[in-house]
């Protein structure tokens, strides 16, 4: 397993234009598979437009303690892109005035941003309905300075959403690295211990599952049942919901698909699983994504592809929700990942 990001390894695919070239070329340019745009046109959804803004997703930096093989952020310990306090202040301004009911902090490992705790404390004061932090779990056990995170999250009533590739050690460690499984289990037990994830309790703990390989996630309900049973029986762990998320063919996952000669089959599988009903609720229709340096994107995936919003408001410092909401969403073939089967978003399936 690689210990550095594509960027640090100076791989061609670290460049966004290289990724877009692949997504727009090959089997799509040759007409073997239809462009995503054509699919939207068929159902009268092109150009794709936002509905009401509900979720503000802020990426506070690409640094991470892990280097997962499927990571769409190309995150890792070597990534230096970290949101400054200055940009956080601009975000807070927006958080205080937004119509969105959900604030979603992501990364990298958001906790590694040196201003993370300050930012959470300030943001919590805005009284947003649902305040999510996407935590990779191992960070809680990575270093003493993070041991108090469960208590800290509890204090600010943060909704914890954590990644857990599988309920067996083998599969988890293969995707995320040796030792990840044991640390994740320990972190989940600690979250349970302070009251997270317990049935009927308000401290929400949800898990994110994404496949460890070139296949699509199965039925979310069935997977949730399997995860609940196994984690409870083997480790006494409880959680609320499982979100099954499809891996989008960008960044490290794209690199993996190509290197393992699975790219074409995977794109076929995504296109075959295309579900027009999922289009209405794809994430970009109710989300704005903010990058570590304050630029605005339709979603975290477009952020990683360097596709800034098609609006005259492009930066958090000029934020204006009405103008932003009146925009066309930028799409490409990676979007098939959001419309496969029951659809996929940061909150799992969409239909």
């Amino acid at each position: 397993m690689a210990t550095k990001s594509l960027k640090a390894r100076q791989k061609d695919l670290a460049k966004t234009n290289k990724q877009l070239e692949i997504l727009n070329g090959g089997i799509f340019a040759e007409g073997e598979l239809p462009y995503f745009k054509d699919k939207l046109t068929n159902i009268g959804h092109f150009p794709l437009r936002p509905r009401k803004l509900e979720i503000l997703q802020i990426n506070v930096g690409y640094m991470c303690n892990q280097v997962c093989e499927h990571c769409h952020v190309d995150a890792g310990p070597d990534r230096k892109e970290i949101m400054t306090r200055e940009t956080m202040k601009q975000c807070l301004e927006v958080i205080r005035n937004t119509e969105a009911h959900t604030l979603d902090l992501t990364g990298g490992a958001p906790e590694m941003n040196p201003n993370f705790k300050w930012f959470v404390e300030e943001a919590a004061k805005a009284g947003i309905q649902d305040f999510i932090v996407r935590s990779n779990l191992t960070i809680i056990r990575a270093n003493k300075q993070y041991y108090d995170l469960p208590e800290f999250f509890k204090k600010h009533n943060v909704h914890v959403v954590s990644s857990m590739p599988h309920y067996t050690r083998g599969k988890t460690d293969k995707q995320r690295g040796d030792g990840v499984f044991d640390k994740s289990i320990k972190a989940l037990q600690e979250l349970n211990a302070v009251g997270y994830g317990l049935p009927g309790q308000n401290l929400r703990l949800d898990l994110v599952y994404n496949p460890s390989g070139a296949y699509l996630p199965g039925d979310q309900v069935a997977l949730e049942k399997d995860f609940k049973k196994a984690l409870d029986e083997d480790f006494g762990i409880q959680f609320h919901n499982l979100f099954a998320i499809t891996n989008l063919p960008i960044s490290r996952f794209l690199d993996y698909l190509i290197a393992s000669e699975n790219y074409e089959d995977y794109m076929y599988a995504l296109v075959e699983a295309y579900n027009s009903e999922a289009v209405e609720n794809v994430m970009c229709t109710n989300t704005i994504s903010v990058s570590w340096d304050g630029w605005l994107y339709d979603c975290d995936f477009n952020q990683m592809l360097g596709l800034k919003v098609a609006s005259k408001i492009k930066h958090i410092k000029d934020y204006n929700e009405d103008i932003l909401n009146d925009r066309n969403i930028i799409i490409s073939q990676h979007c098939y990942g959001c419309t496969a089967g029951a659809g996929s978003s940061c909150q799992g399936t969409v239909i």
């Binding site: 599988h166 309920y167 067996t168 296949y215 996630p217 199965g218 039925d219 069935a222 997977l223 399997d226």
Partner: protein, 111 residues
């Protein structure tokens, strides 16, 4: 034309068999889809049965398809291999049980 009898890319084209016989093709795929729905057996259990049968009938397309299906359902490799052994055991049992016929014939023909 491919120069080999099996081409992995042909699996994607499976649905095309309907083009040359629409009614029968559609009936088959409807039936196929129905069989694998949740029922008295779970879809997960049926996936493992399909994987075992895929090996017994030695269909490379089915093996690819149901290995992937198993992964999607979160089925572990240990479960998959046990299913393959279940299929193999029945298959070898089916061969060996014919040994009784061989014994019967032997005894009948021998003084």
């Amino acid at each position: 034309m491919a120069n080999t009898y099996y081409d992995a890319a042909d699996l994607r084209k499976f649905a095309k068999i309907t083009e040359w016989s629409e009614e029968l093709g559609n009936k088959f795929f409807d039936y196929y889809g129905k069989v694998f729905e949740e029922g008295a057996l779970s879809a997960r259990e049926k996936s493992l049965i399909a994987l075992a049968v895929a090996h017994v009938v030695k269909c490379p397309y089915c093996i690819d398809a149901y290995t992937k299906d198993g992964l999607q359902r979160g089925i572990t490799k240990e479960e998959m291999m046990e299913a393959v052994h279940a299929g193999a055991a029945i298959e070898s049992g089916a061969t060996l049980v014919h040994g009784v016929q061989m014994m019967n014939k032997y005894n009948k023909l021998s003084m």
